[in-house]
């Protein structure tokens, strides 16, 4: 979310799920919303079918939302910057920009004008494969909307240009003023139930909770005082990201890793590299509800409890903080994660005492401005959207209504960069990865559900019939998919959903882990791996092998 933090000052969904039907144009890109966020997609469908909104879908694959789209632009994976720069070019060249909004609420406009001057739709067509006329049509439709809302997910951010992709989308909203009102905005859809919360709580290497930078002396003095520790204890240096941690292990910088509720042996890119790193560690602790793939490398495994057995809060993609409540007792001796952390901290010399999740929340709210007005008792009445600065504040459904968090919205001049790895003679196809409706992330949860597994029992490779014909592959044949980093075998599924030259796999299946193939090249700012584009080859293998 580094892109929006730079352009607006706050890296979260600007609007709310409930105001989606107020948009008359929806621009959805890099989000297979009906499969990854099905209930939110219902609001998009409602906007189209019930209120007559026009949906612009920008996605290489013919996903279910294509059936609802007024316009479907199928661009080459990784060409997003070229495409959106061209849309900005059209909006400026045809006089569709919102001049008064630009003058009052933004800065850097001249730089943008200069940067997109040469980005004609014809030039973008040569890179993206999208006809120039369609790019013009999409730009006009979005710019001339009364309320235009942009939605995206990992299809935008999981590229080496992920931060750039977000900034060029942000340019479109700032150019047209489609922000700060119901039915507008820049709306990144968060994939997991509490990604937003984990970020808000300081689960990042450069910030404490509430995105307060560790590099700020003022912030460190405040946290040290609140936590009753010497100021010198808090490090002023940014820590390492997951991908850097894995490299750091190999270079001997990192000796011990403590993992709570994650399975990097399935979800990280370039799994063979992750395995080497985990083997090399001096000490690995895994705290989880299952002994998953990563736990096989642990020195100690600590049993935690599931969401159904504990109290606490999750923060949803629309910044809404909501309670979870225990419905069942913990299995065996398993304990809530916070109790384990508490006991470990006190063994390491801390002097902490919390008697409940509510007590931890209360402390967190005192050091986290966005959450300052919330507590578990208020949340009993229903969820609250941050920022909620005081106990009387009703929460904030729409961000940036009067001013941006950073003051003025910042336009960004973004040059096009090609993906880290593109098809060549040895690896002639593009592999893109993502989710399907019936399974979830690494599959640790959903693959233990007999019902869901019966519907989607085995890993598949989506391949276009033309590509399949070239390799003489029929539906159901086993395909070996190889990249420069590894290989997996999965069943072919012939479909026109994926364009010619691009195959698609999910990362839900441990036995055919797509992330053995993916590249760990990352976006230079956000450090998000490029899961959506890497080069692969395929060959047919027999079922007996």
């Amino acid at each position: 979310m580094a892109g929006l933090a730079a352009t607006l000052g706050s890296g979260a969904m600007t609007n709310s799920i409930a105001d989606i039907p107020q948009a008359d144009v929806l621009l959805v890109t890099g989000s297979n919303t009906t499969e990854a966020h099905p209930v939110l997609a219902l609001q998009m469908k409602k906007a189209v079918r019930k209120h007559g909104a026009k949906l612009i879908l920008i996605d290489p694959r013919k996903i279910e939302l294509a059936d609802f789209a007024y316009l479907h632009l199928r661009h080459t994976p990784g060409s997003d910057v070229a495409l959106f720069n061209a849309m900005a070019h059209v909006i400026i060249a045809e006089g569709l920009a919102n001049e008064s909004f630009i003058a009052e609420r933004t800065e850097g406009y001249d730089l943008l004008v200069e940067a997109v001057r040469d980005w004609t739709p014809e030039r973008a067509e040569t890179i993206s494969g999208v006809p120039a006329a369609q790019i013009r049509q999409a730009a006009r439709l979005y710019a001339q909307a009364k309320n235009g809302a942009i939605f995206w997910a990992m299809g935008i951010t999981q590229h080496t240009t992920g931060t750039d992709n977000v900034k060029v989308l942000s340019n479109l909203a700032l150019l047209t003023g489609h922000i700060g009102r119901p039915g507008t905005g820049l709306n990144p859809l968060r994939g997991q139930n509490n990604v937003q919360g984990a970020c808000d709580m300081g689960g990042l290497p450069n910030v404490f909770s509430g995105y307060q930078p560790v590099s700020s002396e003022e912030v460190r003095r405040k946290m040290a005082a609140a936590w009753h520790i010497p100021y010198e204890r808090l490090s002023p240096n940014n820590g390492l990201t997951i991908t850097e941690i894995m490299h750091g292990i190999q270079h001997g910088r990192i000796k011990a890793v403590f993992i709570m509720g994650e399975n990097p042996m399935l979800s990280d890119p370039n799994l063979n590299h992750v395995e080497q790193s985990l083997r090399q560690l001096e000490f690995l602790v895994v705290q989880d509800i299952f002994a998953h793939e990563t736990a096989q490398f642990a020195d100690v495994i600590l049993p935690a409890v599931s969401f159904a057995e504990k109290e606490g809060t999750f923060t949803s993609t629309e910044r809404r903080v909501q309670l979870i409540r225990p419905a069942l007792p913990a299995p065996g001796e398993a304990r809530p994660d916070w109790q384990i952390t508490l006991d470990l901290a006190n063994r390491l010399g801390a002097n902490w005492s919390y008697d409940s999740a509510a007590a931890i929340f209360a402390e967190m709210a005192t050091v986290t401005p966005q959450y300052a007005g919330m507590n578990h008792i208020r949340l009993e009445q229903g969820g609250l959207q941050w920022p909620c600065p005081t106990p009387e504040h009703p929460g904030t459904p729409i961000l940036h209504t009067q001013a941006f968090t950073r003051g003025k919205g910042l336009f960004c001049a973004i040059p096009y960069r090609a993906p880290a790895e593109m098809p060549d003679e040895a690896y002639p196809l593009i592999l893109s990865t993502g989710r399907i409706l019936y399974h979830w992330h690494g599959g640790t949860m959903s693959r233990r559900s007999p019902g869901l597994n019966a519907i989607a029992p085995e890993a598949e490779v989506e391949i276009h019939p033309k590509d399949a014909a070239a390799y003489q592959v029929r539906s159901g044949d086993l395909l070996k998919v190889s990249s420069r980093r590894g290989e997996v075998v999965a069943a072919a599924r012939l479909t026109r959903r994926s364009p010619v030259g691009t195959i698609f796999m999910t990362f839900h299946y441990a036995e055919a882990a797509a992330n053995l193939l993916t590249i760990d090249a990352v976006d230079p700012t956000s450090k998000i791996p490029a899961y959506k584009v890497c080069a692969v080859k395929v060959e047919k293998v027999s079922r007996e092998q």
Binding site: D200, G202, I254, I289, F290, A291, E318, I324, R448, S526
Partner: protein, 145 residues
């Protein structure tokens, strides 16, 4: 018809939409999950995972005891062995090893992965442990993945 012993209002654990659910429990089993209407998020709706994807909570391979590795990390793909231990033994060992590694190699030789599936309270507390007790900012999670 089965009658619930207890109906718990809680939040769906799957995607980031945050649907509100009623979890019906009888004999220690979740047997039904309904979408709640009293909110602006899901209006009673749920997807197939949110309605039916809860078997994992009752899975026989849920972890029930702290486990300690008994066999050295093998290089040839041999399965590791684990033995159950008490909480005291497990936490003492983790604390001692972390303290030893921090004293020998410095706080930045230790890294913590927090979780997009755990609660706000749990994430807050583990990053506080990393920063205030160990003294490192090596804290991340799979938001990027």
């Amino acid at each position: 018809m089965i009658t619930a012993e207890k109906i718990t209002h809680t939040t769906c654990p799957y995607c980031g939409v945050g649907c509100q659910i009623d979890m019906h429990v009888k004999d220690g089993l979740i047997y039904r999950v309904d979408g709640r209407w009293d909110n602006k998020v899901n209006h009673g709706n749920l997807c197939v995972k949110g309605r039916f994807g809860y078997d994992y909570v009752h899975a026989p391979d849920r972890l029930r005891h702290p486990l300690l590795r008994t066999r050295a990390k093998s290089k040839n793909g041999q399965k590791p062995g684990f033995t159950p231990v008490t909480w005291d033994k497990a936490l003492d060992l983790v604390a001692n090893r972390l303290r030893h590694i921090r004293d020998k190699h410095g706080p930045d030789s230790i890294a913590f992965l927090v979780s997009a599936k755990c609660s706000n309270e749990e994430n807050y507390l583990l990053q506080k442990l990393a920063r205030a007790v160990i003294g490192t900012n090596n804290v991340d999670h799979c938001a990027r993945l």
